[in-house]
Subunit: 292 residues, 2 copies
């Protein structure tokens, strides 16, 4: 199967499982379940579930279905987007061309729908796995989503926005935690559903870290170099907001060099994993040269 | 040990554990950990941790320390208060005589601190228990805090506030889920740390349900009958807001009869539990006649 067929197959499995593993909108109170589904089923790249499913496929260990974990990680990602979009945070009216949750419903419903998706992620893990590997999945997810990683990255990002002289250290903290943490977790969760060893988990984590940083640096580069049409969103936003980025700190060439370094480090981490890493290798390479 | 000495001992153990089991305010990013601690360490009755510790004491089974679970349930309770106080929800400026989190910090920080406390609850369970009983603790907590219980009750409460003719059925749904769910969970979690059987868990749950409803009905009665000084908060708020309560639906005598019925049902549930139920019996009886 070629890369994009494989990618689309992972996405199709994820979309089907999302529909099945959320309470139906008819469950009381209907409004909260409607709002949870509205945001979760709004499309998107589904990068984290795809990574989780691809990581699971590397291993020949015990066959626990990785799909409930894939839905769980997408629930956490979606909750973080709903809360980030709220007026007190980024105050965004649109996400993927549709009204954000608080615009479609109201702020209170959006707040609660985010809370509910976060809680549902842990509920999914608790219901769909036996304690081994389920308890390890809970530990990995709680840590990645917690105050020192996903939420910590978001907090630091808010603090950095208030000044124009964020440091390289602060930028790294934000990206390692706001972006890379959940990418690492997706890969480790996938591995854990199939019995990944401690050293497999370390390699998956290293790969995720480098992939997450590559993703973020390329994002910063595209904001400078792409036009809005190609990008599918407003280009030049970062410079306009005088936001500290890899490009503002290191220049365009410096950022490109960083992106290459992290891409290479990701490819090295892949060599330490069992199974056929062709899909993940191509994913990194595709991400490094993406245009939007 | 008499009832109030025992109660205060449970509270003292909880307060000490709260301080120890939250990341220090010096952990990066400091602001999020400061905000988590500000709200969690604001005092309060600590009813849920006390119930958890008292339930654990009924059992002579394996001695897993119930304190991390007690901190976890207080984290979930505190997160729900922080989010309920936000401007888009109840818009409260004060909680227990101190500025609410979004007043002391800002809305974004309060939102994230709530998210972080919810996530930290699962992290605590995952770190401080072995998979048995830890995984069962996760399952009970995720269900009680989820979209069909705690969050569902809050959603239904918001929906009910928009109209003045909420039904008895709606009121029951709100109280069973917004109030009783976490009280039930506290008791079951406590039992699970000490090897409670399925029938023990059912009795703990039944007790919690009746205790939660008693608590809520007495709250409604006090809002009508007490003066603000005794109550320690504004009395008559519900009637002023034309809010549907047990008193508005069933009259004062009807509400008092309901309170007695639920108190008795709670005492019956207690007889099905092992160990010495003196503390929990006295807790119910104290709650039924409380004046604030």
């Amino acid at each position: 199967m070629d890369f994009s067929t494989q990618f689309n197959t992972f996405v199709a499995h994820t979309e089907k499982a999302l529909g099945e593993l959320l309470p139906p909108a008819s469950t009381r109170p209907g409004r909260i379940h409607e709002a949870m589904r509205y945001s979760l089923q709004a499309g998107g790249k589904r990068l984290r579930p795809v990574l989780l499913l691809a990581a699971a496929d590397l291993f020949a260990g015990e066959k626990h279905d990785p799909l409930p974990a894939a839905v769980a990680i997408e629930c956490v990602h979606t909750y973080s987007l709903i809360h980030d979009d709220l007026p007190c945070m980024d105050n965004d009216d649109l996400r993927r061309g549709r009204p954000t949750a608080h615009k479609q419903f109201d702020e209170a419903t959006a707040l609660l729908a985010g809370d509910a998706l976060l809680t549902h992620a842990f509920d999914l893990l608790a219901r769909h796995y036996p304690s081994e590997p389920g308890f390890a999945l809970v530990r990995v997810l709680a840590e990645a989503a917690g105050s020192q990683r996903l939420i910590g990255g978001q907090m630091e990002d808010l603090l950095a926005e208030k000044k124009t002289d964020a440091t390289a250290d602060q930028l790294e903290f934000i990206h390692l935690n706001k972006t890379a943490a959940m990418i690492e977790a997706a890969l480790v969760l996938g591995g854990l559903t199939r019995g990944a060893t401690a050293s497999d988990q370390a390699a998956l984590r290293a790969f995720g870290r480098e992939l997450g940083l590559t993703f973020q640096i390329v994002d910063d580069i595209l904001d400078t170099t792409a036009d809005s049409t190609t990008l599918g969103k407003t280009a030049g936003k970062d410079a306009k907001a005088a936001k500290t980025t890899f490009v503002s700190l290191h220049g365009l060439e410096g950022a490109r060099r960083f992106a290459r370094e992290h891409t290479n480090a990701a490819l090295v981490a892949l060599t330490k994993l069992p199974g056929d890493p062709a899909f993940l290798r191509q994913l990194v390479e595709t991400m490094a040269v993406r245009k939007h």
